[in-house]
């Protein structure tokens, strides 16, 4: 169960599978298509969406036209930005704390099999707790008027992929490297610093990348189930339920933007770190 999260996106050690996997006749695609293709697909999505909502008019009312959303987003930017700050902060705190905890526990698990064995079912369980269930519990334990519950939910969400990946990364040191350090009479700490840590780094960053958008989603969804009446999630719920679909979706857009920023930043870090990972 625990290794599943890593499947979400390519692990660090694998070189891009594409160049080798390309089917015949697919090799010669010009590079600019890499950028143009997603833009075209995005445009198609928007046009279909717009056509469905504004032209056919058969879309459900809670799905407004993309242009209405955009207009609302621009118009209400000041309050959206305010709520984005709150949710983004919660997600960031969750991401940082969750990752630190995950690194700590993964370190312990890597150091001692028994700890690994003891943590395995707990991590597996943590990975399948619905936010609906955990948020009220955390709010009661830590106070419903602080952002703590949301931050804790984001922490849990971020913890899982980072833990799984770091634990895996800590186990990836290659025998030849371990022998090398031992032959150089390196101390335990030196081995950790010179070998174990750098080996695990790309895995950590893969975990971070997966964790980043999960933390945002978790922080946002947690707002649905209690806590201070602020943030993206609260606003989405409030306005979706009062018939202001466009405003609600403008907030959704805000949430997507936070998630994208988190994802892109961590992807960039990951790319930097995987450049020199062991082949």
């Amino acid at each position: 169960m625990t290794d599943t999260v890593t499947a979400t996106l390519p692990g660090p050690s694998r070189p891009a599978g594409r160049s080798r996997g390309a089917g015949p006749g697919e090799r010669g695609l010009p590079g600019w298509l890499r950028w143009v293709a997603p833009i075209v697909v995005g445009a198609v999505i928007v046009v279909v969406w717009w056509f469905w909502v504004d032209v056919l008019g058969t879309a459900p009312r809670m799905l407004p036209s993309p242009f209405a959303i955009l207009a609302e987003f621009v118009k209400r930017w000041p309050i959206i930005a305010q709520d984005m700050t709150i949710t983004a902060t919660n997600a960031l705190i969750g991401l940082v704390v969750g990752s630190l905890l995950a690194m700590l526990f993964a370190g312990l698990a890597a150091a001692a099999r028994p700890i690994d064995g003891m943590l395995a079912p707990l991590v597996a369980a943590l990975a399948v707790i619905p936010i609906v269930a955990i948020t009220p519990i955390l709010n009661t334990m830590f106070g419903a008027s602080s952002q703590f519950g949301r931050q804790a939910v984001a922490t849990i969400a971020a913890f899982i992929p980072v833990f799984v990946n770091v634990l895996r990364g800590l186990r990836q040191t290659r025998p030849v490297h371990r022998d090398l350090l031992r032959a150089s009479a390196a101390s335990g700490w030196q081995t950790f610093r010179f070998l174990t840590l750098p080996t695990a780094l790309p895995y950590l960053l893969t975990g971070l990348r997966i964790a980043s958008s999960l933390a945002v989603i978790a922080a946002l969804v947690a707002e649905y189930f209690g806590g201070p009446a602020d943030g993206i999630g609260t606003a989405i719920a409030t306005y979706a339920k009062s018939g202001r679909a466009a405003l609600a979706w403008a907030y959704v857009l805000g949430g997507i933007l936070i998630g994208l920023v988190f994802y892109l930043v961590t992807s960039l870090l990951e790319r930097l770190a995987t450049r020199r990972s062991p082949a």
Binding site: A7, T8, L119, A124, A125, V132, I137, G143, V221
Partner: protein
């Protein structure tokens, strides 16, 4: 060569033993958490520890240690005892029976959601691997799709379902839940399929080409088998995601009968009956573990396709 039969048997016994040891440590881990819970509940302050609180300002300060009173942290034995008390007073069935029933309902829906997710995800993975242009065009949006909060569009799916239902088609509410669950489930499958199909070594692709094997024979005999090690974890993650998605969807669109609905229903009595909400909470965790675990069983049947993994 040593007699193979005994070797195999010994190996099996060994792995069984290792399984038991792992299970033992796991049980110890769970027990440790329960013990810690009770220990902290015993020594910790009822109102928790707050730093930086401003007098007379509710909710100020940062709580660094949680509250330990019974509403925040019920005793483990109270939670267990509550499972055997009537769900809702009177002669309603014991809580655990209701939880199990609700969990089964959700499991069934999640299974359908998983299936939809697997089909859609596998299809996306296939076409993205086949045509690079599609990968470039679709993959970023597939990633973005997962950043859209489920609860934002769950009502949209529900409304579309109702539209269809009214328009003469049949669209039961659980189908909306399944579709929403599949939204979380398809993602790992699409990615796993894409990576998996692209994972064969160059040498194997060359080999198939040297046999003048076209796309389909190559797919069936090489790419799909080679994708198995990528697909299995993806399918397991998809199962866990399908359950999480189904629970949230049930809550969001107000479907009755499942564990999601039970979660919010019993959360309503968290003040006066604090042990009650833990029943469906444990139920939903068990549900996720069962879902992921049963998919892991598929892996046993495909053991031959994972021979490459060890190497």
């Amino acid at each position: 060569m040593a007699p193979r039969g005994s070797e195999v048997r010994r190996k099996r016994r060994q792995s069984e033993l290792r399984g038991w040891i792992a299970a033992g440590w796991g049980a110890l881990g769970v027990l440790a958490v329960l013990a810690l819970w009770e220990l902290y509940k015993f020594v910790g302050p009822a109102e928790g520890v707050v730093i930086g609180a401003v007098q007379g300002q509710a909710g100020s300060g940062v709580m660094i240690l949680p509250r330990t009173h019974d509403r925040a942290m019920p005793h483990v034995w109270d939670m267990v005892a509550r499972l055997f008390a009537p769900t809702s007073g009177g002669d309603t069935p014991p809580l655990w029976v209701s939880v199990a029933g609700a969990a089964l309902v959700t499991l069934g829906i999640a299974a359908i959601g998983w299936l939809i997710g697997v089909i859609v995800g596998a299809a996306l993975g296939l076409v993205m691997q086949r045509w690079q242009l599609l990968e470039w065009g679709l993959l970023p949006w597939i990633v973005v799709s997962q950043i859209v909060p489920l609860i934002a569009f769950a009502p949209v799916v529900n409304a579309i379902g109702n539209q269809i239902d009214r328009g003469g088609g049949t669209w039961p509410q659980w189908l909306s839940v399944a579709v929403i669950a599949s939204y979380l489930a398809f993602f790992p499958v699409a990615i796993g399929m894409l990576r998996g199909l692209a994972s064969p070594d160059r040498i194997h692709l060359d080999l198939m080409r040297s046999y003048a094997a076209g796309y389909w024979p190559t797919l069936v005999r090489l790419r799909l088998p080679a994708a198995v090690p990528h697909l299995l974890p993806a399918l397991r993650l998809a199962a866990a995601n399908a359950v999480l998605g189904a629970v949230v969807a049930e809550v969001s669109i107000g479907m009755r009968g499942g564990i999601g609905r039970m979660l919010i229903q019993l959360a309503g009595q968290a003040s006066s009956d604090p042990a009650a909400p833990w029943g469906p909470t444990f139920g939903s965790i068990a549900l996720g573990l069962i879902a992921a675990g049963s998919v892991a069983l598929i892996g046993l049947g495909l053991a031959n396709y994972r021979r490459g993994e060890a190497a």
